[in-house]
Amino acid sequence: MERFESKHFGMIEFQPETVIQFPAGLPGFEQESRFVALEQPGVKPIVFLHSLSRPDLCFITLPALVVEPDFRLRVPTEDLRTLELAEDRQPQIGAEVACLAVVSVAEGQAPTANLLAPILVNLRTRRALQVIAPESGYSHQHPLPVAL
């Protein structure tokens, strides 16, 4: 078990094999390559992606299928290769990859999720990449589902 002091959650403990590796970081955060995914009681299905090098860096994400139940992946071949996935087809969300959308809140506006560039995690190798997929047709500011 490893430990990391988070500014948001205090001391967090995690198994080294659960660490998510972003070989190229994320756009804007190219130096950040190691993250853990955290869930907190009471705020499911939110997944917190916490950096393991910056105590203050934590992304709020939602499973892409929660944001958009009909969400379809359009991962470019070179990204499938980076993720060590089969290159002849799209991966299966939930079985082969986790697919998370980064949530952001602009001042005075409703939160949105970036479905243009979902984060894919290879569930077998824990390798991850923020896949920028303009051909998917989704927005970088996709509205969240409205409460019923």
Partner: protein, 79 residues
């Protein structure tokens, strides 16, 4: 917005140091060749949008907003 029609192999020039050549057109896609000074950043627009979105996301969200968010998407999926 300035709109210019170009064929494969033709170029446009921007200012003194930038040339954009249409290298190839096929299947609804255009391959562009770009010559520009080293200090000019060239980015696919969606990369810039995602970078800005990530930077905004990392600025954080208040606990109140978080609870609201969880309630909203939680209810939305019938949980």
């Amino acid at each position: 917005m300035l709109v210019i029609r170009r064929r494969a192999g033709e170029s446009i020039l921007i200012g003194e140091g930038i040339e954009i050549q249409v290298a190839e057109i096929s299947g609804g896609r255009v391959k562009l060749g770009i010559v520009a000074p080293a200090e000019v950043t060239i980015l696919r627009k969606e990369v810039k949008l995602t970078r800005e979105q990530n930077l905004a996301a990392a600025r954080g969200i208040s606990l109140g907003q978080l609870a609201e968010l969880a309630a909203q998407v939680g209810r939305g999926r019938g949980a």
